[in-house]
Symmetry: C6
Subunit: 192 residues, 6 copies
């Protein structure tokens, strides 16, 4: 069902792109978050048919990175002199909810640092302004979608571990799970 072929995200891997997991009415799906920096004034541009909750989630990640720029070796001036555009294909599909928070934050961190995101890694989780990762729903469907898409590793909130344990282990063989409490842990795992 995914319109992305397996080799596309292998080959096209570049700074600013991260893979998330979404829960749609037809089941779980993978979702790319693409970001691009250009000259600007610290603006955050959002496209891809995003709802308000998802836009606020991006804004939260943006402020978190700005407040913690030095910790992550991001030039603080970037938040004054660059525009960051966050796009989530596929543009015809409305998307909403807070669960892409970690993915959008990671994609932005990748763009700002120039470090790529680890290949074959997906993630899902709400983020808070002080750097916590909150659990989200639809874990089973999301994990199965990750496996169908050939992904190898997943980052989740530690409070979602119980949801993974309820999945038949045959279905998730070969998938590595990382449970985190904070956005700092996400970025340490994701940026390579």
């Amino acid at each position: 069902k995914s319109r992305y072929s397996n080799d596309l995200y292998k080959v096209a891997n570049m700074p600013g792109v991260a893979v998330g997991l979404a829960w749609t009415y037809v089941g779980g799906d993978i979702l790319f978050v693409e970001t691009s920096l250009s000259e600007g004034k610290g603006e955050l541009k959002l496209t891809g048919n995003l709802g308000n909750v998802m836009k606020e989630s991006a804004a939260t990640g943006f402020t978190y990175l700005q407040s913690n720029a030095r910790k992550y070796d991001i030039d603080p001036e970037a938040f004054n002199k660059k525009t960051i555009h966050v796009h989530v294909p596929e543009g015809a599909v409305p998307k909403d909810g807070p669960s892409a928070g970690v993915t959008m934050m990671t994609a932005m961190a990748s763009a700002f640092t120039g470090k790529r995101v680890k290949p074959y890694l997906a993630m899902t989780g709400e983020i808070t302004l002080r750097g916590q990762v909150l659990p989200v729903g639809g874990i089973k469907e999301k994990i199965l979608a990750a496996r169908r898409a050939g992904l190898k590793e997943v980052i989740l909130c530690w409070q979602n571990e119980k949801d993974v344990q309820e999945i038949d282990s045959a279905f998730i063989k070969g998938l590595k799970f990382n449970y985190v409490k904070t956005m700092q842990q996400v970025l340490e795992l994701a940026l390579v």
Copy 2:
């Protein structure tokens, strides 16, 4: 039901975060207000699916702090040179009403002063521009939620004292109550 584990707000306590009490259709709940300062021009950024009354409540607290900056040892220049972002997780849940006024005002004061909010303290109350605290509804449900979450102390408007007295005392054993008339009293109790 709360997605925050007890130790999370113990450990992750940092300037700019305060705990409020909310009254939802499933009963009382605790609610975190997170704030973050970054370079800016005195803008107030609000996220977390907040309704208009709640946004106006944040704006009221913001102006109050600006007008009383010297009294609280806040650098008046912060209101020209910083952006303050107020976020209330969980982003998927719509939130509204004036009762988070004291909590948002306290979290902002904590961010601006760099002083932490006393741990295990929660609060609820409407605020006015000249610094008064007004009573709010749902006190019983909010107090029970505070206790379930392991909180130890609560700040309320003095006109809500009668609502607390109607709660069976067995349910609130060990909880300390502070009744206030003004925002100055709130900040004296909350900032440590």
Copy 3:
């Protein structure tokens, strides 16, 4: 029914605050208008769940004071270098209509001049840009609310005198009435 205790507006009286009379679906009520000046660029910030007519009424009072700054000993530069925030508690209650015009204009004049509003004084009336006071409705209910709240003096449009004369005199004993034609008369009576 009022959430403000009698002594609150006695004690907390400060420049920038005025008491109005409102006519709600549960009868008359008193209403506080709070204002606060801070550094800015002549912006008028309005909160308290105000409807469009009430917001325009505030804007009209703001322009009137700007145009007549010298007459009232207001520094004209304040309209370029300050932001004035007008807040009307209680934030959960939607408010609208032009009848708080005189109260909002008086509260702003009090903030700009630094002069307090006379205690135990309430007022109601529409204002126009050239400084006239127009009559408003619900006079009986408003007057009774003023008396219940312990107020001692009221300012009304001279065209509302007939409405006061229709109230049983036993109900308004001890209340002093001031009938005015212009905003200048309002400010002479209200600012002390």
Copy 4:
């Protein structure tokens, strides 16, 4: 029915105020247009519960005066350095339509030139950007309202003359009618 007493517009006559004629669901009425200049950047501020057509009509008059500033002895710099606020009491009554165009344009011209509008004069008519006056409806009701209010002179579009001729002459005895084609004629008649 009018809330303005006869002597009010006699006495309070000042530059920036003009009297129009409105056609409401309860019949004709007179309507004051008040304007006020203050320091600014050429902004046009509109209050009084005006609909979009009426707002556009004000904008059209504003541009006409800006384009023809020299012809009317208006300082062209006023359109860069002043804000003009146009207010139409009574704020609770929604108003719309193009027929207050001549009145708003005249009130603005009066404010910009400092010349008063002739007393006891009313007017009604749509205006166009190149300076024409167009006919409007409800002439009979408007004329009768003008007479009830004690006005003595009326400006109308020449294409409305036929509507006046249909009114029983006994009803309009003593009223002087001026029929015009252009805004220039309006201003020559109105500004004294």
Copy 5:
């Protein structure tokens, strides 16, 4: 039915005004487009109760003229230093659709060049950004309205020629038709 007398557009002809043809629910009608230049920053101001499609049509004409300024002897600086106001009387009538594109573009070109539009000339047609003229509907009704109003010449898209040929020739005797493919042809025919 038209509120404009025949001599009005003879006499009041001035740079910046063009006559279009509209198709309304009561049949065809003529429509004036008025434009006015004033000091500004290249802004396009639109009034006259225009719908979104008609506003976009004006924006398209505006960009076309800016891109082709030199070809039409327009000072390119005008697009930075002037505001152009486009008004379409009668303000009470909602107007929409792309068919006034040629008329609005011509009126703007007339204002920018200072050249008048040929008298007794009307036009109708959609415009595109690269300068093409597209056919529009309601040709028969529009042509009959042009004749009733005493107009003598019409500009249409060449693809509308077949619609004119379907009209009984007795009805269009004396009317001259110009069929065009491009906006350049329109301006060559219209500006004198």
Copy 6:
């Protein structure tokens, strides 16, 4: 049914114009995307009755070109000093969806580079921020429309090849198909 005659897009071919394929409720159609550069501040102006998804698609293409300016020999300063206007006739027809992404991106690239788009070439496909081309729907109807309109070559996403293979080969004789994975491939094929 198309309002564009065959020779129009042959003759009027100029930098900034590209031909897309649209899928409407009456079947497939061709669609022109016109762009025009003028002095400005890096703004993207969109007209032609475009829906939000289509506007976001244009914004995505705009950022892609800005981020990859040097690769395509575009002066990076253009994104600060020019305004690009993208117009899609016919203005009365609402348009939406992501499938015009490649066409809008190509038209913009043509305007920015000054290179024309290859004549008789059409294209359809969603674009992503990192430069991928995604498959879209309605391929059969779009291809048939391209042929009816006399086009000779089409660019599609490689994942749409299977849709072309399902079309009876008699219907597509003489049409050349280019299947691509990236926007770079699109621009190499389209700009001449």
